[in-house]
C-alpha cells in the first residue's frame, strides 16, 4: 500500500513537471473550427436553400501519455432476462474496461432490476481487483427499473462531478423499462438535464428486447454514444470502443451559436437538436474527442442577390471548455457566399465533401421519417420515402460523382426492401435507429 502510494506521488510529480514545462507549448488552440458552404457560389437573382456545415475537430494530442481523468458510472441491467450468457459477458466487459482506467479516474458501478443497487460507490479506479470482485457478485433477477438505475448512476457521478473530468454514465440494458418512467421522451428529458450538468449517457442496447427509441433519446439528449449489440460476446468490444472514446475527450460543454445575417433565414438543423429562434440558432455538444470530426448541418434560405456580389451568410460563435488547459475557449468564424450567373462557375465551386455530409444527413432524415411511417404500419409509405431518399442520393451522387452517396443509395434501397419483413423488423429497426444515431452524431464506432 505504502509503495503504491509512493509511486502514485512520483507519478503526480512527474506529471506536474511535464505540464509546467509544456505549458507554453500547449497554449495553442486544441480545436479547429470550419464553416463550409456546400454551394459556395450560387445562382444570382434567385432564392436558395443552402447547406452550411459547421465542423469541429480536435487536434491530435502531442502528449499521448497525458489524458483527461474520467468519472464513469457503469449502470448494468441485471433483470431476469439478462440471466446467463448476457450477464456473464456484461460483467466481463465491464471489468475489462475498468482495468483500462488509471488511478486518477473515478468509477462506480450500479446494478438494477426492480430495485437499484449501488454495487461500487464512486471510488478511485485503483483497486480494480475489489471492484471486479463486487461486479462478479451481481446476479440476475426481477424487472427493469431503468430510470432509477440511471438516476443512481448519475448520483454516483455527482459525488466527484468536475467540469474538468469526463463525466459519463454507461448504461447497458436488454429490456424494456417497466418500473418507473418508461417513455422515451421522459428519459430524453432526464438526459437533457444531465447534459446540462456535463454528464453524458452512453446507452448500449443488448439483444432484441430493448426499446431503441428510449435508448437513443437518452443518449441523444445527453450527447453520449449509442450502440446496438446483438450478441453478448460483442459487448467487450463495444465497451472497449466506448472507453476509448471516453478516454480521448479533449473538450467539453461545447456551445454553438449561429447568427444568420443579411436576411438569411435558418430552416432546420440536420441531425442534432437545436433551438431556432428568429435568426439565432443555438445548440450544444457535450464533448469533443481527439481526432474526431463532429459537425452540424444547417439548412438556410438565402435571399436573391445580384450577380457578382458577395454575401456574408452566418456568423458562428463557439465556446468550449478546453480540458487540457482547463479554461474556456472561444472560436468564431463566418461564411461568405458568392453569386454568379455562370453555371460553370457554380458547378466548379461545389464543395463535394460538405455536400456529401449534408446529403448524408438529409438521407438520414428521410430514413427517420421512413421508420416513423413504418411504425404507423404504413409499409408502402415508408418504402416510398426511402425510394425518394434513394433518388435524391442517386441524383446528387451522379452530379457530384460521389461513390459514397451511391453506396448510400444502395443502402436506402436495401432498407426499403427489408421493411416488410415482419419477423426481422425488430432487429432491423434497432439497426436503423443505431445507424441514424451514429450518422447524426458522427459516432466513431
Amino acid at each position: 500500500m505504502n509503495r503504491y502510494r509512493l509511486t502514485n506521488i512520483k507519478h503526480l510529480l512527474l506529471a506536474l513537471c511535464f505540464s509546467a514545462a509544456l505549458a507554453p507549448l500547449s497554449q495553442a488552440k486544441q480545436i479547429d473550427l470550419q464553416v463550409n458552404l456546400a454551394t459556395p457560389v450560387m445562382e444570382a437573382e434567385r432564392t436558395h436553400n443552402a447547406f452550411i456545415k459547421i465542423s469541429l475537430e480536435a487536434f491530435k494530442q502531442d502528449q499521448p501519455q497525458k489524458r483527461i481523468p474520467a468519472n464513469i458510472a457503469i449502470v448494468l441491467d441485471k433483470s431476469g432476462s439478462m440471466q446467463g450468457d448476457k450477464l456473464y459477458h456484461a460483467k466481463k466487459a465491464a471489468i475489462m474496461a475498468i482495468n483500462r482506467l488509471s488511478l486518477n479516474d473515478i468509477v462506480s458501478v450500479v446494478s438494477y432490476d426492480s430495485r437499484v443497487n449501488v454495487v461500487v460507490p464512486a471510488t478511485k479506479a485503483g483497486d480494480t481487483e475489489l471492484i471486479a470482485h463486487s461486479i462478479q457478485q451481481i446476479n440476475a433477477s426481477g424487472n427493469t427499473a431503468l430510470f432509477a438505475g440511471v438516476s443512481k448512476g448519475s448520483q454516483e457521478l455527482r459525488k466527484f462531478l468536475d467540469m474538468n473530468k469526463v463525466n459519463r454514465v454507461i448504461l447497458l440494458s436488454d429490456g424494456l423499462a417497466n418500473v418507473g418512467p418508461s417513455a422515451p421522451n421522459e428519459l430524453g428529458k432526464l438526459g437533457l438535464s444531465l447534459a446540462k450538468e456535463g454528464i453524458s449517457v452512453t446507452t448500449i442496447g443488448l439483444g432484441l428486447g430493448y426499446n431503441e427509441d428510449l435508448m437513443t433519446q437518452l443518449a441523444g439528449f445527453s450527447d453520449g454514444n449509442h450502440a446496438f449489440v446483438e450478441k453478448a460476446e460483442d459487448l467487450a468490444k463495444v465497451f472497449q470502443y466506448e472507453f476509448g472514446d471516453v478516454l480521448s475527450v479533449v473538450a467539453q460543454s461545447v456551445e454553438i451559436r449561429i447568427k444568420c445575417k443579411n436576411g438569411v433565414r435558418p430552416l432546420r438543423v440536420l441531425g442534432r437538436e437545436a433551438d431556432i429562434s428568429g435568426n439565432m440558432v443555438s445548440t450544444r455538444m457535450n464533448q469533443l474527442y481527439s481526432e474526431q470530426e463532429k459537425f452540424i448541418i444547417l439548412e438556410v434560405e438565402v435571399p436573391a442577390q445580384e450577380d457578382r456580389s458577395n454575401l456574408e451568410l452566418v456568423d458562428v460563435d463557439i465556446r468550449y471548455n478546453d480540458l487540457f488547459n482547463q479554461r474556456n475557449e472561444q472560436l468564431s468564424s463566418n461564411v461568405v457566399a458568392q453569386f454568379s450567373r455562370s453555371q460553370e462557375q457554380i458547378d466548379e465551386a461545389v464543395d463535394t465533401e460538405t455536400y456529401e455530409a449534408a446529403a448524408e444527413q438529409v438521407a438520414n432524415e428521410f430514413n427517420r421519417e421512413a421508420v416513423e411511417k413504418r411504425d404507423q404500419g404504413d409499409i408502402q409509405g415508408a418504402q416510398s420515402i426511402l425510394q425518394k431518399s434513394a433518388d435524391y442520393l442517386d441524383n446528387l451522387g451522379q452530379a457530384l460523382a460521389s461513390p459514397k452517396l451511391i453506396e448510400q443509395k444502395e443502402e436506402a434501397l436495401k432498407d426499403a426492401d427489408e421493411l416488410d419483413d415482419e419477423q426481422e423488423w425488430s432487429k432491423k429497426r434497432k439497426e436503423l435507429k443505431e445507424r441514424q444515431f451514429k450518422r447524426s452524431k458522427q459516432q466513431s464506432y
Binding site: 450500479v110 426492480s114 430495485r115 437499484v116 443497487n117 449501488v118 454495487v119 460507490p121 427499473a145 430510470f147 432509477a148 440511471v150 438516476s151 443512481k152 448519475s154 448520483q155 455527482r158 459525488k159 462531478l161 468536475d162 467540469m163 474538468n164 418500473v179 418507473g180 418512467p181 421522459e186 428519459l187 428529458k189 432526464l190 437533457l192 438535464s193 444531465l194 446540462k196 450538468e197 433551438d275 431556432i276 429562434s277 428568429g278 443555438s282 450544444r284 471548455n321 482547463q326 479554461r327 474556456n328
Partner: protein, 601 residues
Amino acid sequence: MKKTALLLCGLILIPILILGWLSVRLEQNQQQLIQHQFQALVEVKLKSVDGLFQGHFQRLEAVLQSEAAELNQNASSQALRQLSKSSPYIEQVFILDSTRKLIYPTPTNATAQEIQFLQQTKTLLETPSLFTHTQESNTTTQKANAPELLAQAPYSAQLKSVPQTQRLTHSTEKSINAETEIAPLISRRSQATSSIAADSPIASSNISDKQVEQVEPTDSGWIAWYNNTQLQHIYWQTTADNRVMGFAISRARLLSDLINLLPDQSEITAEHPLNNSIITLKNSRGEVSYEWGSTKENADHLTPIKTLNLSHPLGSWRLEYTTTSLSKPQQNWLEKLLIIVITLSALSALGWLVYREQTRESRLALQRVNFVNQVSHELKTPLTNVRMYTEMLENQLDDEQVKQKRYLNIINNESKRLTRLIDNVLSFSKLERDGLDLNLQMATVQECINNTLEAFAPAFAQRGIDPKLTSHCDTNVLLDPHCTEQILNNLFSNAEKYAADSGVLQIECWQEGDYSFIRIHDNGPGIDEYSSRSIFEQFYRASNKLTDGISGTGIGLSIARELARKHGGDLILESTTQGASFLLSLYTPVSLSHSPAKGSL
C-alpha cells in the same frame, strides 16, 4: 359408567375449549396491538421520506431564488433562455408583468420548445389567481386537467416560509463557498446547482440565506399541475416590481433527484429495519416510480399495509409500505398450542384417574350389596326353621305353661321381625336391580291389613299403641298380598318405632274403582316440615331427638314407596295437624279382565 365417562369428557373439553378460545382472542388482540404499533412506526418512516422530499423542494426553491436573483430586473430574453438551457432543473422560465400578462416567452419570438410550453400552460398562465396566496373563490377558469391546483394552495403557504427558518448556519458559509469555488470554470449559476446536486442541505441553505438577505421575494409558491395526467411543477415568485417569475421544473429531473434521496439496495442489509419489507413510490397514475427494501418472497401479490399520500406539491403521489413478516406469527401459535395440549393431557390424565377410582368404588359397592344379599338369603332358611319349630313347640305346650308360652311368643315375634328386615333388604336389592316381579292373586286388602296387624299386635300392645281398623275393602281384588303386606309392615314398624305411647292408630281402608286406599294415621309427634321432604329418600333418617336411640336402616319408607309405585299406586305423606298420616294407594283391579296390562304395573 357411560354417563360418568361423558361427564368427564365434558369436564375436560369445556375448559380446553374456553382456553383455546381465550388464547385465540388474546392472540388476535396482540396481533392488533402489534399491527397498530407497527403501523405507527411505518407511518413515521413514510413521513420521514415525505420530509426528505419537502427538504428537496426547499433546497430547489433556494436554488431557484438564487437563479432569479442573478437575473437583473429587465433581463433579456437571451439571458432567460440561457438560464433554461444551463440549469438542469429548469425546463422553462416565464415572466408575467404586474397585470399578470405574459411578457416572456413571447409567441412571436419563441423556439419550438417554448411554443409547446405555452400551449400546454395556456390556461395556467391565464389564471392570475394562481400566483397569489389569497385566492379562494376563483375556480371557474380551471380546466379539468388541473383540478388540484386550488385545493393545494394552503400547502404552498406552508412551503413559502421555509427559507427564513434555515438561517442558522452562518458559521459554515465561508468554508462552503471556498469549496464550491474550487472549480473556476463553473459559472456562478452552476455553483448553486452543484451544491444542491451534492445534496448538502447546509450548502443550499447558505445560498437561500444569501438570497433572503439580498432580495426578499414578496410572494412565492409551488403549483402542481397535470400535463397529460403527469404531475408537473412550477415554482413562482413575485419580484419587487410585482412581476411574477416562474420556473417550470423538469419532471424527469425532479423524479431523478427524489429517487436519489432514497436508499438503494446496498444500504439495506439483513439488520436493516426495512428487511423483509419494501416501500414503493407511486406517481399520480399509480405507477411505480421507485421501490426499495427487500422481501424473501415475491411481494407483487401482497397488498400494502400502509399508504401515505405525499404532501404538496407531490399531492397525488403516494408511498406504499408492503411487508411479509406480519402475516406469519407462527412462533406464538406454537407456544399457545403447546399450553393447550399440556392442559388437555393433564386434564385427561386426571379424568382417567377419577374415572378409574369411581369404577373401583362402584365395583366394591356392588360386591358389598351382593354380599349382603347372599347373607340375607343364608339367614332366611335358619330363620324359617326357627319360626317353624317355635310354632310346633307352642302347639305342644299346655295351657298352664303360661311363662313358656310368653317366651315362645317373643321368639316368634322377633323372628318375624327379622324376616321382615331380611325381606326389606332383599326387595331393596331387587328393586335396585329392577328385577322385582309382582305376584298378583285374588285377595282382599282387609285380609292383608289383618295379617299384618296380627303380626304387630304384640309389639303394639307392648308400645302402647291401639290400632283401630275401619275397613271398607273386603271385596276380592287382584293384588300382590306379599308386597302389600311388606308396605304395611314398614309403615307399622315406623309407627311402632316413632309413635310409641301415642294411643289410637287409625287405619282406614276403602276402594275407589280400580284403586284401593289405605290411610294410617298415628297420634305420635309427627314429622317436621324439613324432614318430610326427604323421608322417602334412601338411607335418609330424620335426625332429631325423636329418632335418637332408635335403630333403623333408613330404607324402609323408600322401599315402601317403590313397592307402592310398582303396584301402580303411590305412598304419600299427608299433612295433618297431629301425628303423621300416610296414604297408600294401590292399583287393584276388581277382576283380571279389568287389568289393563299386567306388565305396566
